[in-house]
C-alpha cells in the first residue's frame, strides 16, 4: 500500500458515505447505520481489490464482492454510482417502483452486485460457491464477503464456515462488519455472538482483528489475508454503527427504515464535508451529475 492509496480510499469512503445517505434520504426509508459502518471496508476493497468500473466489471477474472448483509446495499450503490455503473438519472431511484435500485440487493438489473442478498446468511454461502467455482474453473480471482454481526446468528453461517474450511478455500476472505448492533438492540442483548474471534479460529479459519475504520489496518489485513494458503480468512473489523454522522453513531434506531429528515440530512452532509452551494445536488437528487 502507498500513502496515496490510503488517502484516495479515505476520500472515496467520505464520498460514498455522502452518496449512500443521499440515496437513503431520497428513498425515505432504508438502513443507514450498517451502510455507514461498512463504508471504509467497501472503499478500500472497491479502490484496490475490485474491478467494478464501467466496461470492466464483466471480466471473468474479476475479484468478487458479495455484500451478505444485503440491507446495506446503498453503500454498494454509492460506490457503483461513483464508478459509472449507475446512471446519474437514477440517483434518487432507490426503493421506488419501476426502478432497478431495489431496497435489498437484486442481481437482475444490477448484475455487478453479484448476487441477490437480504435474507441473512445466504450471501456468505453464495460467496463460498463463487470461491469453489472459480477454483474449479482454474480462475485465480478472489472473493470478498462482507458479513454482518447479527448475521452470525444464522445457522447457515456456521454451515458455511465449516464448508469453506473443509474445502480449504484460500481464495475467500470474509470481513465481519462488527458494529455490535442489530435491528432491535445491541447484539449482546439479542443473542450474544462473543467470543467471535475464537469461534472462527475454532472453525479453522485464519482470523485477524482490526479497527474497521482505520484504512491502514484494513489495507494491511487484506494484504495479509491474500498470503494465507489452504484456509479461508476472516477479518473481524470492529466498527461503529452510523460511523461518520454524529447523531447516528452507536444509536440502534438508525439501524433501519428510519426516514432521514431534511435538517438531519443537512447536518450529516456538513459533518461529511459538504456545505453551502455544494449541498444543492444532494438535496435535489442530482448528486451523481458530472461523475
Amino acid at each position: 500500500m502507498t500513502t496515496d492509496n490510503l488517502e484516495t480510499s479515505r476520500e472515496f469512503a467520505r464520498q460514498i458515505r455522502r452518496d449512500a445517505l443521499a440515496l437513503l434520504y431520497h428513498a425515505g426509508s432504508g438502513h443507514p447505520g450498517g451502510s455507514l459502518s461498512s463504508a471504509d471496508l467497501v472503499a478500500w476493497l472497491w479502490q484496490n481489490e475490485l474491478h467494478y468500473r464501467a466496461g470492466e466489471w464483466e471480466r471473468e477474472d474479476r475479484n468478487r464482492l458479495v455484500l451478505s448483509k444485503g440491507h446495506c446495499v446503498p453503500i454498494i450503490y454509492a460506490a457503483a454510482g461513483n464508478s459509472g455503473l449507475i446512471d446519474p438519472s437514477e440517483a434518487a431511484d432507490l426503493r421506488h417502483i419501476g426502478t432497478r435500485l431495489q431496497g435489498h440487493a437484486h442481481v437482475g438489473d444490477t448484475p455487478w452486485v453479484e448476487t441477490s442478498t437480504g435474507s441473512l446468511g445466504q450471501g456468505f454461502s453464495v460467496s463460498i460457491g463463487m470461491a469453489m467455482g472459480l477454483r474449479h474453473r482454474g480462475i485465480g480471482s478472489r472473493v470478498y464477503a462482507i458479513v454482518g454481526d447479527g448475521e452470525m446468528q444464522e445457522g447457515e453461517i456456521w454451515e458455511g464456515a465449516m464448508c469453506a474450511a473443509h474445502h480449504g478455500l484460500d481464495n475467500l476472505t470474509a470481513i465481519l462488519d462488527y458494529n455490535k448492533m442489530q435491528s432491535d438492540d445491541l447484539n449482546e442483548n439479542i443473542m450474544g455472538i462473543a467470543p467471535i474471534v475464537d469461534k472462527w479460529r475454532s472453525f479453522n479459519w485464519e482470523v485477524q482483528e482490526i479497527d474497521g475504520h482505520d484504512m491502514e489496518q484494513i489495507a494491511s489485513a487484506v494484504a495479509k489475508a491474500k498470503e494465507v494458503k489452504g484456509r479461508p480468512q476472516m477479518i473481524v473489523a470492529h466498527t461503529i454503527k452510523g460511523k461518520g454522522v454524529s447523531y447516528m453513531e452507536g444509536v440502534p434506531t438508525w439501524h433501519g427504515s428510519a426516514k432521514i429528515k431534511k435538517d438531519e440530512f443537512i447536518t450529516a452532509l456538513e459533518e461529511l464535508g459538504i456545505t453551502n452551494e455544494d449541498m444543492k445536488p444532494y438535496l435535489n437528487g442530482t448528486f451523481w451529475n458530472g461523475q
Partner: protein
C-alpha cells in the same frame, strides 16, 4: 407410444431397456446414471451432495467424475445457496438431496437461485409416500406446491426411468432454475423408446373419450392401471402423463377438458398445491369441467411399504378408477 402393462413382474420384450433407464430401476438410479451419461455433453455441470449420494443415485457420478462432485455434508441450506454462487461463476450446478430437505432449503432456492437468476437444477429424490418405511418425517408431500410457487422455477416430476433420463438431459440444456423429483422405489417402465420429452408438454399415453386421467411421477403408471380397470367396465379413459407441473400444458388440459368433459388428477403429493391444483387452475381458465383430485388428503404419512401406503392413502389404480366413475357422474 406407451403400453399399459400393470405388473413389473410380467415384463414383455418391449420392457427391455432401450436407454440407460432399465425396467425396475428406481428413478434415482436412472437419474444418477443419466448424469454420468451427459457429463461430457455438459462440461460445466457439477453435482452437489449432502451426504446422501447413495440415496439420490449421484454416487454413480461421484465414482465416474470425482473432480466434478462436491460434498457439503448435512448442511442443505449452505449447499443450496452455494449452488447459486457456483452458477454465478459459470458452472451448471445440480443440487441433490431428499425432497423433504429441499423444503428445508427452499428460501435459499428462492433467493440465491431463482431471485438471483441462477441456472441451477435441484433434483430431489425420496418424494411423497414412495419414501415408504422412513415415515411421515421423510415424506415430502408439499414440495411440488412449494417450489411451484417460486417465480421462474420450473417443476418436473418424471414417471419412469426412461423419462428421467430424457428429462435430465432436457433440464441440463434448459436455461433457468428447475426443481425435479426423482424417486426411491423401483419404478415400472411404462414408456417406450419413441417417447419424446419436452419441458412444458404433457403426453397422451392412451387415448379415450369419457374421462381424462392426468398423472405425474409414480401416479402415471397407476393412472394406466385405472384405465385398464375402466376399460373392463366399458369406460374409455384417456391417460396423460403431465410430467411438467409448471409451466402446466394449458393447451393439452383445455383439449382434454373439451374432448372428454371430465378430468381426474393423480399425484403422490398433498392434494393442495401440486399437479391437481395446477390442472384445476388451467381448467378453470380455459374449459371448466368436473374434476376429481387423487392425492394425499391433507394428512401426514406414516411408515409402511410404499405400495401399502399408496393403497392406504388412496393413490392406487382402483382409487383413481373410483374417482373417474365419480367425476363421470358429475358430467
Amino acid at each position: 407410444m406407451a403400453h399399459s402393462g400393470t405388473d413389473s413382474k410380467t415384463k414383455t420384450k418391449q420392457d427391455e431397456p432401450v436407454l440407460i433407464g432399465k425396467a425396475g430401476d428406481s428413478l434415482r438410479e436412472a437419474f444418477g446414471k443419466a448424469l454420468v451419461k451427459y457429463a461430457d455433453e455438459f462440461p460445466e455441470m457439477v453435482v452437489l451432495d449432502a451426504d446422501i449420494a447413495g440415496g439420490t443415485g449421484t454416487h454413480h457420478f461421484q465414482e465416474a467424475r470425482p473432480d466434478r462432485f462436491f460434498q457439503f455434508g448435512i448442511a442443505e441450506q449452505n449447499m443450496m445457496a452455494t449452488a447459486g454462487g457456483m452458477a454465478g461463476v459459470g458452472l451448471l450446478p445440480v443440487v441433490t438431496t431428499f425432497a423433504v430437505f429441499c423444503l428445508r432449503a427452499i428460501e435459499q432456492a428462492r433467493l440465491s437461485i431463482a431471485y438471483s437468476e441462477r441456472n441451477v437444477k435441484i433434483v430431489a429424490s425420496h418424494p411423497g409416500l414412495d419414501v415408504g418405511p422412513d415415515g411421515g418425517s421423510a415424506q415430502a408431500l408439499e414440495d411440488l406446491a412449494a417450489y411451484r410457487a417460486i417465480p421462474t422455477m420450473t417443476v418436473i416430476s418424471p414417471c419412469d426411468p426412461l423419462e428421467v433420463e430424457l428429462a435430465t438431459r432436457a433440464i441440463l440444456a434448459f436455461d433457468g432454475p428447475v426443481y425435479m423429483r426423482s424417486g426411491r422405489s423401483p419404478a415400472r417402465r411404462i414408456l417406450d423408446e419413441s417417447y419424446e420429452f419436452e419441458i412444458g408438454k404433457g403426453r397422451i399415453l392412451r387415448d379415450g373419450s369419457d374421462v381424462t386421467l392426468i398423472g405425474c411421477g409414480v401416479e402415471t403408471a397407476r393412472a394406466l392401471d385405472a384405465a385398464e380397470i375402466l376399460e373392463g367396465e366399458g369406460v374409455s379413459a384417456r391417460v396423460v402423463n403431465m410430467s411438467t407441473i409448471k409451466p402446466i400444458d394449458h393447451e393439452l388440459v383445455k383439449r382434454c377438458a373439451e374432448e372428454t368433459g371430465a378430468i381426474v388428477t393423480a399425484e403422490d403429493h398433498n392434494v393442495y398445491g401440486g399437479l391437481g391444483s395446477a390442472v384445476a387452475e388451467a381448467v378453470a381458465q380455459h374449459a371448466p369441467c368436473p374434476m376429481e383430485l387423487v392425492g394425499v388428503q391433507d394428512v401426514f404419512g406414516e411408515s409402511g411399504d410404499p405400495e401399502e401406503l399408496a393403497e392406504h392413502y388412496g393413490l392406487t389404480g382402483p382409487h383413481i378408477a373410483e374417482a373417474a366413475r365419480k367425476v363421470i357422474r358429475r358430467k
